[in-house]
């Protein structure tokens, strides 16, 4: 430890011990924590709620940043499933891929993933008062992207797709009743859930996208203008009450 900077070697450590060390460091006022040799340890950053920067080298396990509220986590590698589970605030930047249900139910904060993500990413993300979550995915996503989405912004840039290749996710935005999804490139109608519609982008959309893509580009050393030069698809829910007429009273 030096000047608020801590280093923890996670080699062979059980997650419980690692997270206890992490909590101890945060409680002792650490401003920057470097975790080395991380190999599948779960729950890193769970429920941490102070402004601290955590650099992870290796592969953090499931539920990275679960319930987190404030810290900034940078992963130099891939993340596994349920990264950002029920996160309330803070930022996660992943220099690699992320697994299934990335950003499950997040209510605030930002998640940037450089490459592809798994199934049901951005499921049930929601916004509340001044809290608005953002998920930006550099690559492409699997099926049920943005399922049940109730708020927030989900951006999929498709930068890992080869020229001419399209997103293959289906059931995009199924059950969606709030928020907005932007996909770089086109998606066919059959790929969309029944509760969403594709609408043209307006000036406000481009301003928001520019801001998010610039942040993405800064994190991963990409050219924002080049990314923004391609056409985008905007998906919005048809109703905030998709199941209002389902029942007999």
């Amino acid at each position: 430890m030096r000047d608020g900077r801590w280093e923890i070697d996670a080699n062979g450590m059980h997650y419980r011990a690692l997270n206890a060390r992490l909590r101890e460091a945060v409680e002792n006022g650490a401003e920057c924590i470097v975790l080395r040799n991380v190999c599948g340890q779960r729950y890193i950053g769970a429920n941490l709620h102070r402004p601290v920067e955590i650099h992870i080298y290796g592969t953090p396990g499931n539920d990275l940043a679960a319930f987190m509220d404030g810290p900034r986590i940078i992963v130099y590698g891939n993340a596994q499933d349920a990264c950002g589970n029920t996160m309330n605030g803070g930022e996660v930047v992943i220099h690699g891929r992320a697994g299934d249900v990335t950003g499950y139910s997040i209510r605030g904060g930002k998640i940037f993933v450089r490459d592809d993500v798994g199934y049901r990413v951005g499921i049930h993300i929601k916004e509340y008062q001044e809290q608005r979550p953002f998920i930006v995915i550099g690559g492409t996503a699997q099926h049920f992207l943005g399922e049940y989405m109730a708020g927030g912004v989900l951006v999929v840039l498709g930068l890992t797709l080869r020229p001419g290749e399209c997103h293959t996710a289906t059931y995009i935005g199924t059950g969606m009743h709030g928020g907005v999804i932007y996909l770089r490139g086109k998606v066919a109608d059959y790929q969309l859930g029944r509760e969403v519609a594709s609408v043209p982008l307006e000036d406000g959309d481009w301003a928001l996208l520019r801001q998010l893509v610039q942040e993405f580009a800064a994190h991963f050393n990409r050219d924002a203008e080049e990314i923004l030069a391609a056409p985008f698809t905007k998906l919005v829910p048809l109703s905030s009450r998709p199941y209002g007429r389902l029942y007999a009273y």
Binding site: N47, D63, H177, R241
Partner: protein, 505 residues
């Protein structure tokens, strides 16, 4: 609009000699059954709107009103009952999924009513609980394999580090009922009563109102698939966390709190915008297996630094015994099992009436399975799904539960008349509604007092039953099925319940 084939379910009888046209009934009925006609100076009733909640009849100062089931009868038919015929009418008119509230009302066997308790005679003495010590205190949480004690000079102290436990002064908790499904005053009544009785109430999946944080030590906070209102303060304030997988009234399906019930205040506790539907997905999409359940259990333990029990609530379904074994092995501190007759604020009628198994069978099967596997100590069991009396509590515990959840009984104590219309949001008793005109009918001081009275009465009765059996601690009753005998049950039912028939020694 085409003609509706539906006729009134209830018949409103107004004794015109007694009625003084004071219009109490007019003001009390949120369904607009009663209408005052100033020209006639009389009150008329439109019984097609009546839900049979008895609010008007109870408050009528001259007792002029009687609500009866309609004398209108279909031609007798043992197969096509009136409720089946009217359901078809309703669905033919609307095309909708039929909704209902409260627990299953179908005539499946109620095994509690086929089980009789034992009492001591001659061979061992019964105990008089009014004058002799009787222990109802119950600890919910994982128990160690063995307990180590060290002698420090004059003091004995525990060497074994115990897992976090919940302490209940009587083996009863209030079931999960969310703010949104029930009113703020109902939540406050439950919280106050829990504090006064030394038990816990449960937030359901609706988050926690800021003014209820002071009841944190008496609060179980639920984490459900929608993760509504789940944030740091919520996790840290509660005494225990409960992952809600299922509910007895609607196993396997999610929930839709309609946008009109998401008022400004409800939106604050759920942390979603006002007026949007609150959709709870059917599964947790981070839980597709027992291993995944373990992941969420430990996520919550990590988030709260292993300071509080994490339980799992499931509906009683066919394979409940191996499921419970998996939940215990996944690291849950308690398992709440909600039976077929468990209540709800809203569920599709077809699900409520056809899915799940009775709690009596489930609790017996789970207790037996966990004992066979040698892991019964690793987890506490809470039985739920229509515990209606202190006798049901005693029978549930003798079948293998550590404690019971009561939901419907608590609502009835606060005035619920089981009209099963919770989902309409027009509860005339001020319980299952967010309408300020209706919610103020439930005074939280009176609500809490009635709940405390109920728990006091049940606790006294439980002590009497225990004393009669010659048992002086509720712990000695747990899984003690030799104190139960079945009447009118077949051999398979007796075997599953693990009890003998009445008359067998």
């Amino acid at each position: 609009m085409s003609l509706s084939l539906l006729t009134a379910e209830f018949h409103v009888e107004r004794d015109e000699i007694r009625c003084i046209a004071c219009q109490v009934c007019v003001r009390q009925c949120a369904n607009d059954v009663h209408v005052y006609d100033p020209d006639d100076d009389r009150v008329y009733s439109d019984e097609t709107r009546c839900v049979g909640c008895h609010r008007c009849a109870t408050l009528c100062p001259t007792r002029a009103l009687t609500i009866r089931c309609t004398p209108q009868e279909f031609r007798a038919n043992a197969n096509w009952s009136p409720s089946i015929i009217t359901s078809v009418f309703k669905q033919a008119e609307t095309g909708g999924v039929l909704l209902t509230g409260m627990g299953c009302d179908q005539p499946y066997p109620i095994y509690f009513d086929h089980i009789l308790l034992n009492a001591a005679q001659v061979t061992n003495p019964s105990i008089d609980p009014l004058r002799e010590p009787m222990e109802l205190r119950t600890f919910i949480g994982r128990k160690p394999e063995q307990v180590g004690v060290v002698q420090d000079r004059d003091n004995m102290r525990l060497e074994t580090r115990l897992a976090p436990q919940l302490v209940l002064e009587t083996p009863i908790l209030f079931s999960a009922m969310s703010y949104g499904s029930i009113s703020y005053n109902a939540c406050l009544s439950l919280a106050r009563a829990a504090k006064e009785c030394g038990i816990l109430y449960n937030t359901g999946e609706g988050g926690l109102h800021p003014t209820l944080y002071e009841y944190g030590p008496y609060t179980i906070a639920q984490v459900a698939s929608g993760r509504f209102g789940v944030h740091r303060a919520y996790l840290e304030t509660a005494a225990a966390l409960e992952i809600k997988i299922g509910q007895g009234a609607k196993p396997g399906i999610g929930g839709h709190l309609p946008g009109e019930k998401v008022s400004e205040d409800v939106s604050r506790t759920r942390m979603i915008p006002q007026g949007t539907d609150a959709l709870s997905p059917a599964p947790h999409h981070d839980i597709y297996s027992i291993e995944d359940l373990r992941q969420l259990i430990y996520a919550l333990k990590e988030a709260t630094n292993y300071t509080k029990p994490v339980g799992v609530k499931v509906a009683a379904v066919h394979h409940i015994a191996p499921i419970a074994s998996g939940i215990a092995r996944a690291g849950a501190d308690y398992i709440a099992i909600d039976g077929l007759r468990g209540g709800t604020g809203a569920a599709p009628t077809v699900i409520r009436n056809n899915v799940g198994i009775p709690i009596e069978m489930a609790i017996a099967a789970v207790d037996e399975r966990l004992r066979q596997e040698g892991i019964r100590n690793q987890v506490s069991l809470i039985a739920a799904g229509s515990i209606r009396s202190s006798a049901d509590v005693v029978k549930a515990i003798a079948l293998g539960a550590d404690a019971v959840y009561i939901g419907t009984a608590a609502l009835v104590a606060m005035g619920c008349h089981l009209c099963q219309k919770c989902y309409t949001g027009k509860c005339n008793w001020g319980i299952a509604t967010q309408d300020p005109y209706l919610t103020k009918r439930l005074n939280p001081n009176i609500g809490a007092r009635r709940l405390v009275n109920l728990l006091r009465a049940w606790s006294l009765e439980i002590k009497e039953m225990l004393g009669g059996m010659g048992i002086n601690a509720i712990e000695s009753l747990r899984g003690n099925r030799d104190h139960l005998r079945g009447v009118g049950l077949n051999e398979v039912e007796l075997r599953v319940l693990g009890i003998k028939a009445a008359g067998e020694s």
